[in-house]
Amino acid sequence: MSRSPYLSSAPSVSVIMVKVMLALIPAIAAYVWVYGAGILITLALASTTALAAEALMLKLRHRPIKPFLMDGSALLTAWLLALSLPPLAPWWLVVVGTLFAIVIAKHLYGGLGYNPFNPAMVGYAVLLISFPVIMTNWPAPLELAQAKLNFAEQCQFIFGASLPNGLHLDAVSMATPLDYLKTQLTLHHQVQDIATASQFGTFGAKGGELVVWAYLLGGLYLLQQRLITWHLPTAFLGALALMAGAFYLVDANHFASPVFHLFTGASMLGAFFIITDPVSGPTTPKGKLIFAIGIAVLTYLIRVYGGYPDGVAFSVLLMNMCVPLIDAWTQPRVFGHSK
């Protein structure tokens, strides 16, 4: 019987997922440095919930549990969602988001390989719409916070929502630069003045920009390992920079610089880790470019004119809807065919 080819040289799905998680390690380390070790609790919570939900769903769907749990995709979804949430998010928020991502966005659509939407972003979007206050309430980086919480206090905050010694929430949290910029612009302040606020760093957010650099580092590793192709990150970051640059050139008083847009919010995480989800993205080279540019344009529009400070999640979900069309329209020329 013909079962050729007899050879195979591909890394398994598990290896790919593990490498992507490896690429996230620098960013997690940066998170711990900037915001404290609380993020580890969030990651652990999300991971446990994801694995439990995945196992349960596999059982309900009569699928072999071990190979699918081992593929690492649920774990990666959990990590990406955890890293999108505000550090020190309450435990139930993490659990609800992860459950939604795994059960509804992934398994109800057919499990690994069949989900039309990025599960982590579905989980994120559901949380953002349902709990907007908690979701936009980011803790201040440790260096800026009036009160620095230690690990035990962070745990207490995550699980009990209580702060030590009757500290007020303002003592540990502050608006993110994207958020702050948005509200200040509506008060007719100018970008240059707004950017002097303490939460602004050299490129993006004070402290947060270190995490962004770590994402970039992880992304380059993914490129070097050929786990992602250049199309998506380059087109996304390029289009975002171009779009922001055009507005910035026209009116630098009311529009933030392209560098600011690249280094704040979920730009860098999105460019290398979110929009590169193969399952919910396009497969053709041209399609990838269109997809990434679409996300960049939508992200910018939502940031500048929309109701939310950041727009990566919504943009990704909107462009996920267009994937079948994009793929159908961008079929490459086949060898020997004129078109």
């Binding site: 050729s4 591909a10 193969p278 079929q331 020997g336």
Partner: protein, 576 residues
Amino acid sequence: MNALLNIVNQVKNSFGLSASNTVRGGVHPAEHKQESTTLPIGSLPISKRLVLPLRQHVGNLPKVLVTVGQHVLKGQLLAEAEGNISAAIHAPTSGVVVAIEDALIPHPSGLPDQCIVIDSDGLDTWGERVAIDWRHLDQSALLAALRNSGIVGLGGAAFPTQIKLRTNPKVQIKTLVVNAAECEPYITCDDMLMRERAADILKGVEIAQYLLGAEECLIGIEDNKPEAAEAMRQACINSPVRNLQVVVVPTQYPSGDARQLIRLLTGMEVPNDKRSTDVGVQCFNVATLLALHRYFDFGEPSLSRVVTITGNVANPRNYDVPFGTPVTDLIAAAGGVLDHTDDYIMGGPMMGFSLPSVDVPITKASNCIIASAPQLFAPPPPAMPCIRCARCADVCPISLQPQELYWFSKSSNLEKARDYKLFDCIECGCCTYACPSNIPLVQYYRFAKSEIIAQDRAKEAADLARERNEFRLMRIEREKQERAQKHAQKAVGAQTEAAKETAVVSANPEADAAKKAAIAAAIERAKAQKAASAPQNIEKVEPAVQAEIEKIDARRDAAKQAVQAQLFESDPQDNK
């Protein structure tokens, strides 16, 4: 630095800017060629019993000319080419025809087929050999002579060579491409042939170039065969062939695919619906050219070929093997198999197939036998779902979208699979090789192709039946109308009889004429339709063709079962 280069290459690739000297996509499996190139080409003692399948080539079965019990000489014609595309079979040694019967042949289906069985007399006595003075004969005479040479493409495709040398007067062949890429891992028969017999190969090139009237000849060799390339270069110096050039191409599977190699060497892309000759290029394998030389210059028909025996055997090597030799004898010559051997692959590991048994004979298409063991070719792990990573699309040498084809094949959306150019797939196996989910993609494509072909055939038959039925209904309707008309005429006739005196003859003749014309036209139409729906070759097929159809059906069923058996991952609703 590497990462940077990777990115640059990726950028180039995705804009179709990959230099014309590399195959788009492609893969680089471990070569494993050095194992079988340490020893020169060996020769095998003539086996006691040779089994010669009638079907060793693409095309019609040849017509058997010998009878059981007949003594034959080496080189004697046993079966002659029949029909347009066919190839002759000759006796590889002298001996007695002991049977003409069904026997197991090396074919993926594992089904037996008609074979001529010869018991060797051990003398190896040649019959009459007549060299052909090809330089002084015209093309048609040479092609006629070639018809019973038994030479087919020895690269593995086994297409009768005389068809490929028959030129179309409308298209001038400009370039003769010699396929010496040998891109599959493990196989080294062409490599060794070039190292040892480069000058003889070039004599074959001379003949092919003369027959084709080609202006130039390009010999494409992968850069992992420097000795072969050097030997060919040396031989080229002394060759009278005009514009002869050895072109070394990068080692990259599947550069040896004819269309890929033609693009590598000439920069021309053969359109999907055309043959290479339509763009002025013809392509031959080195071993085929050597066979041409032996036939024309020595009168020796195609009796043996060089076969690589490698993999899990004691002494991997190349042997000149007479056709019909059992694979077991070849394995024994190589010192037998090592421990854990569990399978035998004919061809390379990328496109070959598992032999149904080692008791099958070596045929014209057998370029390599690999003794397989789990440590060489690990059984594929269970398939996981496709994650659309598009690695398959990245390595597809013809820019198909394997992940889409897989999706369509799996959901039996065959029309869509056809739209996405399933039939352009060359089944090179690069996609499966690169798939992280271990999906047997090529098997899905083979299955979908055979399903589409079967559907087309069924549709053709249904169309025919429908046409016939429509014609029958039309005929019944027409007869009814004609009867009604007759009755009406009779009635009118009676009336006119009655009213003969009073009524004046009106425009009746004209009306009659119009009616007659209408009837004649209807009959004409019916005739035309009948002619159009005349039975095509679907009903009264010859037994041989019928057997072929049944065999294809059997193969399709086998493929279907195998694919289903391999599918670890499948929706429960799919199985219902």
